[in-house]
């Protein structure tokens, strides 16, 4: 329980850091740490597939993409941020924590516990047999992503 709580607090702290840190590189790494901790929580809660994906894709692959992108951008341009952000985020965050603390404990007691145990079936079975329609959707998401990149980074033919 203590380990679990520590992990959860770690997720929250690193997520907040990812938002408030001004240096993009540090922010990307904070996000990676947060998702690494989340992956460990998944493992501890008997969801190894979710854990593997969280750590390999979100903590690994996406962080690499972020770092690469940051390395390719120029650093000398100062981006002006609205002052509003500085106090709106903490305010919303604190309000969220307060509401969460007040509401969630009561709610969780009312949620019936699902049958626990390791994830049923092999990974292939889950993906191909029981969530196949989502796979079609995933293919469509990838197509949409690829076409978006092609469209947004195309050479402007006549506009320029």
């Amino acid at each position: 329980m203590i380990v679990q709580t520590a992990l959860l607090i770690g997720v929250v702290i690193f997520s907040v850091l990812a938002i408030v840190l001004k240096d993009l590189l540090k922010s990307a790494i904070a996000l990676a740490v947060a998702s690494l901790l989340l992956g460990i929580i998944f493992f501890r809660m008997n969801a190894p597939y979710a854990g593997v994906f969280e750590i390999s894709v979100v903590a690994g692959l996406i962080t690499v993409l972020f770092v690469l992108t940051i390395a390719l951008t120029k650093t000398d341009e100062e981006v002006r941020e609205s002052r509003l952000v500085n106090w709106v985020f903490p305010l919303v965050f604190i309000a969220f924590i307060v509401i969460d603390a007040l509401v969630m404990k009561g709610l969780l007691g009312k949620v019936p516990a699902l049958a626990s145990g390791a994830e049923s079936g092999t990974f292939g079975e889950v993906l191909w047999r029981s969530r196949t329609y989502d796979l079609v959707g995933q293919i469509a998401v990838i197509l949409a992503g690829v076409f978006s990149v092609l469209a947004l980074f195309r050479k402007r033919e006549k506009n320029d």
Binding site: V103, G106, L107, K110, V111, P112, L114, A115, W128, R129, S130, R131, T132, Y133, D134, V136, G137, Q138, I139, A140, V141, L143, A144, G145, F147, S148, L150, A151, L152, R154, R156, E157, K158, N159
Partner: protein, 493 residues
């Protein structure tokens, strides 16, 4: 093979960029339009025969082995598929000439077809998580399409749209997680059945609030509407037509109605919330539309206001109210599609969207002016056009259900709507021809063909409204009015 509605546009989208290397214009035009025409014919002609014996629930087999692609086609989903195919076809017809100067046409059609596939996939889904996935498919394609012109304001609008849309997605995933936690299932029928046995008021309230926020953002109901007046006007005209005509209704209103009415069951509290949001959107957006100088921005605010009517109608929960809401959804899809396409014709001819700069364009573009007038009068609810009948149904349903105040508001907002549409008509098309536009010509053939097609439909459905209601609207409304039973009973669980 109802999966064709999802797979056909996806496959064509996949090969389009390759085809674009061979033929930059003609082949992509033909392929995209032919695809949508096939879908339209399938929905309009074969669809009703398919569901003649009740809803079709299909489990697909792949190479002799059954896989878990289970789709459901009933009156409501068929009706939505028809709306998507119809407006989608008109907008892609319009794109033939309009997208000429943007370049990268094959790529444009590919994104466009992915967006259509996403909407169709959402409509056929019978599982909460599939709804979310296909909602994202359509949304991701639409972000890129809004930014397709690559100018500064287009990119900014797309970014704002992306950010608010992500918030909506987060709420939806949250809601789905809560439901999954409670019932252990995602399938509509399983969730509907489990929720009926489970007595979990407060948790349901949280899940409902999450869904209301998420779908409210997607449908751009006031007060979640901030992204729409930026995103819709910035997109190329055919995309504005599809976003306003279809996307906010499929990923907002359809998903909301399907989940709240068929899976959760409409409680009095939910009904009040939906009607309240509907009336608020109707009134606030109508006043905001009045103050606009940008033609497309005015149309965008009008979309929010008209979606308010749809949600108000469905929120009443009576069979007549639901039928009125769905009929208005269809009519608004046609008319708003038409208006955005006409505004595209005007923008392409004059290079501006500012109403104050226009004037007298009716002399130079008589067909565009006429079709625009049909669309405007239809949305404003002038008899005998289609929009009149759907608004009438909603107002009658409101009176019958004992909400006379809402009925009066609906009538007054309708007057307001007529006012700002006549403002567009007067400033853009009537009056003295501004000298600047002496050389303006009527829009090219395919653009005019698309607007004329939609205008003819607006008039035709207005005249043949009773047969439209019996053949298309009533079967769809019956599904929603049937409540939870529609999915737990007839979808077979």
């Amino acid at each position: 093979m109802i999966i064709l509605f999802v797979v056909l546009p996806l496959v064509v989208a996949g090969i389009l960029p390759l085809v674009g290397k061979v033929s930059r214009r003609v082949l992509p035009d033909v392929l995209a339009n032919a695809t949508l025409l096939v879908l339209l014919a399938y929905a309009a002609i074969a669809g009703r025969a398919l569901i003649a014996g009740g809803p079709v629930v299909q489990q697909l087999a792949w190479l002799g082995e059954s896989v878990d692609i289970r789709l459901a086609l009933d009156g409501l989903s068929l009706f939505m598929l028809l709306a998507v195919a119809l407006v989608g076809f008109a907008a892609s017809l319009f794109s033939i000439d309009y997208m000429e100067h943007y370049g990268a046409k094959a790529n444009y059609y590919a994104l466009y077809l992915v967006m259509i596939a996403g909407m169709n996939g959402l409509i056929l889904a019978r599982d909460l998580f599939s709804v979310y996935i296909f909602l994202e498919v359509a949304a991701i394609a639409s972000y890129a399409l809004v930014a397709f012109g690559l100018a500064h304001d287009e990119l900014e609008a797309a970014f704002k749209y992306l950010m608010l849309s992500v918030v909506a997605s987060a709420f939806l995933v949250g809601g789905i997680a809560v439901i999954f936690g409670m019932t252990g299932g995602l399938d509509f029928a399983a969730v509907g059945g489990a929720l009926r046995e489970l007595n979990a008021g407060p948790v349901m309230a949280v899940a409902s609030a999450f869904f209301l926020l998420g779908f409210g953002l997607k449908a751009a109901l006031v007060p979640f509407h901030a992204w729409l007046p930026d995103a819709h006007p910035s997109a190329p005209a055919p995309i504005s037509a599809v976003l306003s005509g279809l996307l906010i209704k499929v990923s907002g209103v359809y998903a909301l109605a399907r989940i709240f009415l068929n899976v959760f069951g409409l409680t009095p509290a939910l009904s009040t919330a939906l009607m309240g949001l509907g009336v608020l959107s109707m009134v606030v957006a109508a006043f905001l539309a009045l103050g606009q100088k940008d033609m497309k921005r005015m149309l965008a605010y009008s979309s929010i206001s008209q979606v308010g009517y749809v949600v108000l109608g469905i929120g009443i929960g009576t069979p007549l109210g639901i039928a009125g809401g769905l009929f208005h959804l269809f009519n608004h899809a046609l008319a708003k599609g038409l208006l955005f396409l006409s505004s595209g014709s005007v923008q392409q001819a004059t290079g501006t969207r500012d109403l104050d700069e226009m004037g007298g364009l009716g002399r130079r573009m008589p067909l565009t002016a006429a079709t625009n007038l049909v669309g405007a009068l239809s949305i404003a609810g002038v008899p005998p056009l289609n929009g009149f009948w759907s608004k009438l149904l909603i107002i009658v349903a409101l009176v019958q259900a004992g909400h006379p105040v809402y009925a009066v508001i609906a009538v007054l907002v309708s007057v307001l709507t007529l006012w700002y549409y006549l403002l567009i008509q007067r400033k853009a098309f009537f009056g003295q021809l501004n000298e600047k536009w002496a050389a303006v010509k009527e829009a090219p053939f395919w653009m005019t063909a698309a607007t004329v097609l939609l205008a003819v439909l607006c008039v035709g459905i207005g005249i043949l409204f009773s047969s439209t209601i019996t053949t298309w609207i009533q079967p769809a409304a019956d599904v929603l009015a049937d409540g939870i039973h529609a999915v737990t009973g007839s979808w077979g669980f």
